[in-house]
Amino acid sequence: MALQILLNLIISIVWMFLHNDWSAPRFIVGYIIGILFIGLLSRFWPHDFYMKRVWAILKLLVLFIKELFVSSFVVIGLIVRPKLAIRPGIFALQTELKTDWEITVLSCLICLTPGTLTLDVSKDGRTLYIHAMDMDDAELLSQQIKDSFEKAIMEVTR
């Protein structure tokens, strides 16, 4: 991925050399031309086209912000209700993610999901212990975490 970005930068600098014009618009046009060429020639690279990964990162960021909003309103809803109708607990979640980096991002995302908070990660990094505000839907929560977050993170890293 880094190699493709480097090549793209080189293409845009060559474009600026060809026009003898050292301005930001020229650089941007060159960069877009570079993206087009690398996209067209992407089957000669051992890895995927890097814009795919950039797109996945953007999607993950939007997911982060959306979860922050939803979870804040859920928590506020629970706080202002006159009777505390919560049944907290801790449940374990098996994860398929491997590297430390992926697990860190996943646990940050879990901290921002409605009603969940990562308490601990087991030593081998396969299990996350999560404190939930409402245990009634722990199954649902873990399924949701698996479906949306793990998939979104895997799209970025693999």
């Binding site: 982060f64 922050l68 909003f69 979870s71 804040s72 928590v75 506020i76 706080i79 202002v80 505390l84 919560i86 049944r87 907290p88 607990g89 801790i90 449940f91 374990a92 646990s107 940050c108 901290c111 921002l112 009603g115 908070l117 990562t118 308490l119 601990d120 087991s122 030593k123 299990t127 212990y129 404190h131 505000m133 245990m135 722990a138």
Partner: protein, 120 residues
């Protein structure tokens, strides 16, 4: 133009008010909720969102009305966004490690068995 400027002011003002309201509600949650873990739920999520709202509104105000793009505010937004959940996680973990009990109405504790096994 006048109309747009007025509407923008109104929206920015509402954003600040909203952020402050969320912050106040999460402080209310800190008083009301029964144990450390539940309190850290309130502190991590709602407080983060409240601070973010206020910072974004300040950024927009400086950008539109004073024509000054403040990179420091953008950096502040990013830092709060990254460190909020991590701080909540570390608080909860430190509390659990030092043996702070869960609320008596908690119904499940998977971590207890796991940490027992670890200690042998």
């Amino acid at each position: 133009m006048e109309m747009i400027s007025k509407a923008g002011e109104l929206i920015i003002g509402l954003m600040v008010l909203f952020g402050a309201l969320i912050g106040a509600l999460s402080a209310f949650g800190l008083i009301r909720l029964p144990d450390v873990y539940l309190r850290s739920h309130a502190a991590t999520k709602s407080a983060t969102l409240g601070v973010l709202f206020i910072l974004v509104a300040a950024f927009l105000y400086f950008m539109i009305y004073l024509e000054h793009t403040s990179a420091k505010l953008l950096l502040g937004i990013v830092f709060v966004f990254i460190t909020g959940p991590v701080a909540g996680h570390l608080n909860g973990r430190a509390a659990y490690r030092s043996g702070v009990p869960l609320w008596n109405k908690s119904i499940q504790d998977d971590l207890k068995d796991a940490s027992k096994e670890e200690q042998g």
